[in-house]
Symmetry: C2
Subunit: 125 residues, 2 copies
DNA sequence: GTAACTATGCGACAAGTGTCGCATGTGCGT
DNA sequence: ACGCACATGCGACACTTGTCGCATAGTTAC
């Protein structure tokens, strides 16, 4: 079974930090997203906790402290957002040109290729 | 002062119905969005009520029944969504090619042109 | 005028999210 | 042994959104 619910915007910020570098401790993640979210450390931690409950990430211990790993795939997650957006906001049904994301700072060529493939597919479970 | 908060996905569905044809009564709107949202009439009405409170739409009376008008601009609203999405999900900062929306069933040429202009602008209040 | 429909106004409840704070535990420096 | 700085575990509160239901008032068909 796949996750049904899209991560929220804030959760996405955190996921992005982890996709860039993982695992990271709560403190490290907090420092990484502090500027975007402007949250207190408590808020970051609570969100992390909830994301864990939702299996958006997983936890392990290193030297006695908990570190977080992303538990959802980057390209798939982004693809979910993109499909969602194009359908529900733009109401474009046909192909989504990948050229659209070429400027994105998030994706390297490999990932762009994967994304293209993923966007082509119908909805799988 | 402009609206600060983006309409939610469901609110957008309702707004789209109204952009297509306005004004409409609660009942008419409900019929129009029923398929998308699968809500009971009560839910539609409540949402309408809340959208009114938020000034996403306005109300007037015709023959004793209340009808709703959209109170936010279609192109501006869509542009908000697009900017938001490209920045927060895709992290594309530069220009957004309008070609992206050419396939959209939502916009005619005029609107596409306006959209292009709007996307070019920096954030105004 | 009476019953059957609607339209409206409201109240409610639950889940998800943003946003913290407090209390407890534990390793480290002196 | 003591106190400090963190890490963790939890509880809480407010707001938004989804989702209805109920009660009252007006309108219309017998």
């Amino acid at each position: 079974m796949k996750n049904r619910t899209k991560p929220s915007a804030s959760e996405l910020v955190i996921l992005k930090a982890l996709w860039k570098l993982a695992p990271q401790s709560a403190r490290e993640i907090h420092n990484a997203v502090e500027e975007k979210l402007e949250w207190s450390y408590s808020s970051t931690r609570k969100t992390l906790e909830r994301m864990n409950e939702k299996h958006l990430l997983s936890v392990s211990e290193v030297h006695g402290i908990r570190v977080f790993h992303p538990a959802v795939n980057k390209v798939k997650t982004l693809a979910r957002y993109i499909k969602d957006f194009t359908q529900s906001v733009l109401e474009v049904d046909g192909q989504i040109p990948v050229s659209m994301f070429a400027d994105s700072k998030l994706l390297n060529e490999d990932e762009l290729a994967q994304l293209e493939k993923t966007l082509q597919q119908k909805d799988e479970s």
